[in-house]
């Protein structure tokens, strides 16, 4: 059972059936369909309201679609929300590769010419340069998608595991 949840991908039929059941549950328990398009419209209204409240409140469209944080909004937040993220990371551990994030971290440290390791020891400079070249090469090689490595790294330093590092 647990292996089923840790699979990176499910059959689209299973995931689709899940959405179908979810849609019924949403109607049953909250009398609303699932979806999130309207939330973007409301978000745009809220941003506009923060900048120029008079202009936005005078717009006919926003009288019909009132910009406020409600059900639709929660859908977007739900997608982003850390709980959803952690739930997904728990299920899909392939996404996060500690070695990769660690390498990125070291690459950054050397790139920023930080000449001292966290434990206080001062590394040999020539060695550092070689290591830096090697690391940046290995980051490029192992992770062609460097944006992902960077994102993994930033997620990682914000996680409890990263704090303890």
């Amino acid at each position: 059972m647990f292996e089923f949840f840790t699979q990176a991908q499910w059959s689209p039929y299973v995931a689709g059936a899940g959405i179908g059941v979810l849609s019924c549950l949403a109607f049953l328990l909250s009398d609303r369909p699932i979806g999130c398009s309207t939330a973007f419209v409301k978000a745009r209204g809220l941003i506009g309201k923060a900048i120029d409240p008079v202009r936005v409140s005078s717009k006919e469209y926003y009288l019909e679609i009132v910009p406020r944080v409600d059900w639709d909004w929660r859908n977007i937040v739900g997608f982003w929300c850390p709980v959803g993220r952690w739930l997904h990371e728990w299920a899909w551990d392939q996404w996060f590769d500690p070695t990769l994030a660690c390498q990125y971290h070291h690459g950054l440290l050397f790139f920023c010419r930080r000449d001292r390791y966290r434990d206080g020891t001062i590394p040999d400079h020539r060695c550092v340069r070689e290591e830096r070249t090697m690391l940046s090469r290995s980051i490029k090689l192992q992770c062609p998608d460097r944006a992902r490595a960077a994102l993994q790294y930033y997620v990682w330093i914000l996680s409890p595991e990263g704090w303890c590092y």
Partner: protein, 172 residues
């Protein structure tokens, strides 16, 4: 709280089904990868039976919305262009941001906000023309066609399941 829980699960299913992946969605547009269609059709197949059974026993109500041919056709065409160019729809773009896709965050989210603002801007002008072309009443498909509800459901289910079986038969 309920909304949050549902949306987390929705995002989770979209992710597991692979629908938050740019390549999967563009694959669907190019008719080389039918994952998105399989996901959506299975959601409709299960959701349709579930919803109508719940409705039959009086647990839920349907909320048919008004529409118009103008808004649906023109809106659908614009949506399709955006869907194909960006590779995400409004739901999957949020899921892709959660996954860490920068294209979804920077192009997708910002583009959606700009587009929504533009529509709010031109709304008074299009309301009386494009959005009013061929107005459709707020009724469901069986009511519109004047057919028995369960006949329509059985026909549509058979069509969708048949389509998926055909897709599998041709190995797509």
């Amino acid at each position: 709280m309920l909304g949050l829980l549902f949306s987390i699960m929705f995002g989770f299913f979209l992710q597991k089904g692979g629908a938050t992946d740019y390549h999967v969605i563009t694959g669907q547009m190019l008719l080389t990868d039918f994952t998105v269609l399989k996901l959506m059709l299975s959601a409709v197949i299960v959701g349709m039976i579930g919803f109508h059974l719940l409705k039959h026993f009086g647990y839920v109500q349907s909320h048919a919305a008004e529409g118009s041919i103008g808004s649906n056709v023109i809106g659908g065409l614009i949506f399709g262009v955006g869907f194909a160019l960006l590779g995400y729809c409004p739901g999957t773009v949020a899921g892709a941001v959660g996954k860490g896709a920068f294209d979804a965050l920077f192009s997708g989210m910002i583009g959606l906000l700009i587009g929504a603002g533009f529509f709010a801007e031109i709304y008074p002008q299009v309301k009386t023309c494009v959005l009013a072309w061929g107005k459709l009443p707020a009724v469901t498909v069986p009511e519109f066609l004047n057919l028995n509800l369960w006949i329509v459901i059985i026909l549509m289910e058979a069509f969708m399941i048949g389509f998926l079986v055909l897709l599998e038969y041709f190995g797509l």
